[in-house]
Assembly symmetry: C2
Homo-oligomer: 129 residues x 2
């Protein structure tokens, strides 16, 4: 049972959910000026909470954030992202099989993973034409 979101957290999540692509923290801030969001820490605190609860993801290679679209994302071992350099579209995928290979490496090397980042940069099918 996750607790209800606060006003700021809801504003940030809604903005990300409505966006059709990843947004930077500062563009979220700009979008929410009229809603009372005034300064970066307010956005970053909301983002931090939403990240912790898994409602959004951070794209490390873009310094940007995106709402999670996978209803049962948390049940997947790892999540990957394919980012199109041309149109900016981002696809989220569940790395069921990849996870197994990673787990093997972790076991072999005694590494205890807390967070996994998988990001593919390239050209999506529609943009390839």
């Amino acid at each position: 049972m996750g607790k209800a979101l606060t006003k700021n957290q809801t504003l940030v999540l809604d903005t990300l959910s409505k966006a059709d692509g990843p947004l930077s923290a500062y563009s979220i801030l700009d979008d929410l000026r009229d809603e009372g969001m005034q300064a970066p820490p307010q956005v970053y605190r909301a983002l931090e909470k939403l990240l912790k609860t898994g409602l959004i993801h951070r794209l490390e290679s873009l310094n940007a954030y995106i709402a999670c679209r996978d209803p049962d994302c948390v049940s997947h071992p790892v999540t990957g992202f394919a980012i199109c350099e041309t149109c900016g579209d981002v696809s989220e995928f569940a790395g069921e099989k990849i996870s197994k290979q990673l787990k093997d490496w972790e076991d072999d090397n005694g590494f205890l993973v807390e967070k996994t980042t998988i990001e593919l940069r390239g050209i999506c099918r529609p943009c390839k034409g």
Copy 2:
């Protein structure tokens, strides 16, 4: 046959090679003040070149750079990194098998990959004790 590196490129590569962990662009700059490096663009331009030639890697989740330690890194399909949150140590690994799973996904989805980022954050064996 790679071309010879310039003075600045050599300085940056040497700094990264001597470091026992990832360095930020600005800490490289600080290390090289005495060698004549004065401003960020000089460092960033050297980093850009070294990245392109595969002599160093960028750790997206750290905004930091590290010298490549894998002699035949370029021959591997994808490279992954395991980053210890405790000691800061970074292990580079070749994702031979992972690459296959990724390729399957790419083929299924018609996505043309240009660059792959795989980074594991966690605790390394020595730090687990």
